[in-house]
Symmetry: C2
Subunit: 441 residues, 2 copies
C-alpha cells in the first residue's frame, strides 16, 4: 500500500528500458531500473515507467517506440551491450534514432587494451574468439557520444538524427558496477543536458517509523489534510520494509513549507514511533551511537544464525565497535560457546527469556563488549508448538553497567521474513539500550 498525493506531471519526463531475458525471467533481479529512476527524479525528471523486456530486437524496439509515443524527452536503457551476437541494444537504438552503425577505431583500441589487462585472470580461454566477440562493442551509432567503458562495454548517448525529434537515448551496460559510474558521465553530456533543460530540482526527505501498522499512515495523512496542511505539492510514498515504515516525500522548492508542516504533524501524532525524523537508518544510528560513546557490541544468535552479526558488519568501519559474535544453533553450542546453563535450557526450553538473556550475557563475557544481543526463536517452517508457534522469537540486550531489555515477538511471514525482521527488532532494542533505556538487573 502506498499513498501518492501528488498527481501532476513534471515538464520533463523519461522512460527506463531494461533489457535482458535473465532479468525478465527473474534469474537476476533488476536493480538498475529503480536506481536510474531515483537518479532521474533527483534531476527533476519524472519517470513514466520502467519497462523490462527480453533480448528480442522487436521487443526492445517496441519498448523504445512506446516511450516515444508517451512523449518522453529521455529514454535510458540498461543491458544488451555485451560481446555476444544477441547483445543488440546499440544497433537497435541506432536504428530507432535514425543513425548508421560505424566502427569507432579509437574505441576499438581502448576495448582491446582493457581485454589485454583482463587476460590471464582465467584459464582455458580462447583469446582470438574473445577479441572477435568484443570488437562488436566498438561499432556504434554515428554521432553518438561515447561513455568510456568501466568494464569492457562502452555506453552511449544517442540524440535523434537531424530533423527527427523525439527522445535522446542513454545506453548503459547491465552490470550495476559499470552502469553507475557511467551514468554520472552521461548526465554531463551536452545532448542529455539539452534534453532535460527546464526540469525543476526536487528534494527527497525520508522519515522512518517502527511499531505502527502501515494503514495508520493513510489515516494520518487524511487528518493532516483536514488540519489544513497543503499536500498538493508533496509526493508522499510509504513503504513497509524489514518491519519498519518508511515515509518518503518528494517536493520542489515550493513545497518546502508544506513538508515542514507535515513532518511536524507526523512527529506530534506518532512521536514515539518515529525513530528517524531525518531518514537515517537504524543501522547507521546504532553505529554512530557506538562510535560516539567508544562502546562495543557482541552478539549471540540462534534462529538468525549470524544474520545480525552480518548486518552489524555491513557498514564500513564496523570493526571499530563490533567485536564479534557467537552463532549457537544447537543447544550444545549454546552451552559450549555462550555458557548458557544446560539446566536452564532443560527447564524452560531454548526459546525463552532466560536463554535469550543468558546468550547476551555469554556473548558479552566471552567477547568483553559493552553491549550484547541474544536472540533465540523458531523461524520455521518446522519446530513450532501450540505454546511456542513458528514466529516466536525472544530477544535480550544487556549492558556492562547492569541494564537489560528482554522482549519477545510473534512474527508473521515465512522463515526468511522471520529471520530478517528479527534482526530489525534486535537493532531497535540495541539502539534503546545504547541510549540509556532498560531495566536495572
Amino acid at each position: 500500500m502506498d499513498v501518492a498525493v501528488y498527481t501532476g506531471k513534471a515538464d520533463v519526463r523519461a522512460g527506463i528500458l531494461v533489457t535482458g531475458t535473465e532479468v525478465l525471467t527473474g534469474i537476476i533481479t533488476d536493480r538498475n531500473g529503480p536506481w536510474l529512476s531515483e537518479r532521474l527524479r533527483e534531476l527533476g525528471v519524472d519517470v513514466e515507467g520502467i519497462l523490462v523486456v527480453g533480448d528480442r530486437p522487436d521487443d526492445v524496439l517496441a519498448g523504445l517506440r512506446w516511450f516515444e509515443s508517451e512523449g518522453v524527452q529521455v529514454v535510458v536503457t540498461s543491458g544488451g551491450l555485451g560481446p555476444t551476437a544477441d547483445d543488440l541494444t546499440a544497433e537497435i537504438v541506432g536504428r530507432f534514432r535514425g543513425r548508421e552503425m560505424v566502427l569507432d577505431p579509437e574505441l576499438e583500441q581502448s576495448i582491446n587494451a582493457i581485454l589485454n589487462r583482463l587476460r590471464g585472470r582465467f584459464r582455458n580461454v580462447d583469446p582470438e574468439a574473445l577479441a572477435a566477440a568484443n570488437r562488436k562493442q566498438a561499432v556504434i551509432p554515428e554521432g553518438a557520444a561515447v561513455l568510456a567503458p568501466v568494464g569492457t562495454a562502452p555506453g552511449l548517448v544517442v540524440p535523434p538524427a537531424e530533423g527527427m525529434g523525439g527522445p535522446v537515448v542513454v545506453v548503459l551496460p547491465g552490470p550495476p558496477s559499470e552502469l553507475k559510474p557511467m551514468w554520472s558521465v552521461a548526465v554531463q553530456t551536452e545532448a542529455f543536458g539539452e534534453a532535460i533543460a527546464g526540469a525543476p530540482v526536487l528534494r527527497r526527505e525520508m522519515l522512518r517509523m517502527f511499531g505502527i501498522p502501515e494503514a495508520e499512515i493513510a489515516v494520518t495523512l487524511r487528518a493532516a489534510a483536514e488540519a489544513g496542511i497543503d499536500l498538493s505539492e508533496l509526493e508522499i510514498t510509504t513503504c513497509l520494509r524489514r518491519g519498519e515504515i518508511e515515509v518518503s516525500t518528494r517536493f520542489s522548492p515550493d513545497g518546502a513549507d508544506a513538508y515542514a508542516a507535515l513532518k511536524q504533524f507526523l512527529l506530534e501524532r506518532h512521536g514515539d514511533d518515529v525513530f528517524s525524523p531525518d531518514g537515517a537508518t537504524i543501522d547507521a544510528m546504532v553505529a554512530s551511537a557506538l562510535v560516539a560513546g567508544g562502546w562495543t557490541v557482541a552478539t549471540a544468535e540462534s534462529c538468525t544464525g549470524g544474520m545480525l552479526a552480518g548486518r552489524l558488519t555491513d557498514l564500513p568501519g564496523s570493526s571499530a565497535y563490533v567485536l564479534g559474535g557467537l552463532v549457537t544453533y544447537s543447544n550444545e553450542a549454546k552451552s559450549a560457546v555462550a555458557d548458557v546453563p544446560a539446566a536452564t535450557i532443560a527447564s524452560v526450553g531454548a526459546v525463552s527469556a532466560e536463554v535469550a538473556e543468558a546468550l547476551a550475557d555469554g556473548a558479552r563475557a566471552r567477547l568483553g563488549s559493552t553491549f550484547a544481543v541474544g536472540i533465540t526463536g523458531i523461524a520455521g517452517p518446522g519446530g513450532g508448538t501450540e505454546e511456542k508457534p513458528v514466529g516466536t522469537v525472544w530477544f535480550a540486550v544487556t549492558s556492562a553497567d547492569g541494564r537489560k531489555l528482554v522482549r519477545h515477538t510473534l512474527m508473521p511471514g515465512d522463515r526468511a521474513a522471520i529471520r530478517e525482521r528479527s534482526t530489525t527488532v534486535a537493532m531497535h532494542l540495541l539502539a534503546r539500550i545504547i541510549a540509556g533505556d532498560g531495566e536495572p538487573r
Copy 2:
C-alpha cells in the same frame, strides 16, 4: 551479458504491469514481476515485458493499453489494491475492460471478518477510519472473478466486457506473500484458462558452473552450434551470480534432444567447472551431503561477519548439521573465542593462511563439528595495503579426520560484493572437503 538463441514468439503472450511509486522509485525492489514472468513461462505463456509504473491512474491505464496494442492475451497486475484512496488498480482495470464498479456484499463481509481478527495487534488505531478505508476494497468490476483475500485485499480476474475483445486482466495485490497464493487460484479460473488455451508446456533446465568467465560460455555455445547441435529450439540464458555462472535453458518437448546434446557438450568441455549439472544450488548440495553423512559444520568468520553462518542456516532443517559459528571481527576475539594464537596474528597478520586455518580449527574444537570453515580477509573500503589489497580473502576448511584446504582469492567489487562472493567460495571449498578432497595435515 546473456545469450538468447531462441527468438520465436509463442502463440500465447502476456504482459506484467507492476504499479507503485515505491517500486518505481526503488524504495522497494519489485520481485513480483520476475516471479510472475517465471510462472507464466512455466505455463507456456511468453512474456512481452514487465512494466513498472507509479500510482497515477493515467500511467496505469497507458500501460494496460500498451500491452493490449501489443496483442497480448493476458495482463497480470500487481499492487494498488490497498485501502487508501490512491490504490486504484481495480477501478482502472474495470474501466479498461468496460465493466462498472459494484459493491460485493459477500466480499465486504469477509474483509470485515479479517479486519476484526487483525485488530488488537496494534495500539493507537482508529477502527472506524480503518473499516472505511477497507470497505473500498469490496468494490469490484461487475462480472469479475474474486480471488479470496490472503491479507485484506481481494484479487480479481477481469475478462473484457461482452463483445469487447482484448486481454483478460489478473489483478493481484503487491505484497508477495499475498500475491503468490492468489496466483495459484487465479490460474484455475475459467477466464484465465480460456485466455491461455493453446499454450505449449515448456521445461526449464539449469546447470551451474564455478571458476570460468561468463564470456567463455558464449564461445562454447558457438562451438556447440558448429558441432551440429541444433540450438534453434532452445532459449539459453547465462548469468553471473555470487561468483557462479548459471546456464538456464527453456525448451518445448521438441527441444528435449537438443538440450540433452547441449548438456553433454557442456559437460565434456567444462566438466571440471560444472558443479551442478541438474541446477541444484551449492547450498543444497552441501546440506544434503552433510545430512547423508551424518556430519556437522561450524564456522569462524572475520570479514564475512556471520554471513556464511547466516547462509548455512537459510535452509529449513539446517539445525541437523549446523552446530554454530564464531564471528571474530577483532583480533582479540580471534584469540578469545576461536583460540587463534596472538603470536600468529602478530607475526603473519590477521589476513593470512595461518589465521584462516587456526580459525577453522578453533571453530571445530569449540563446537565439536566434523568440518569447519575459517574466513579472514579485507572487505574494504579501508584496510587494504599494497601487499594485501582490498579483496584479499583467505579461506580454510578443515576436517576432523585430518584434511584441509587452504586457499586465497583476490576479489573484485565493493565491500558487499566481496563479502557475498566470499560466502560462495567458502561453500565450494566446504563441498570439496565433504566430498573427500583436501591435503592431509
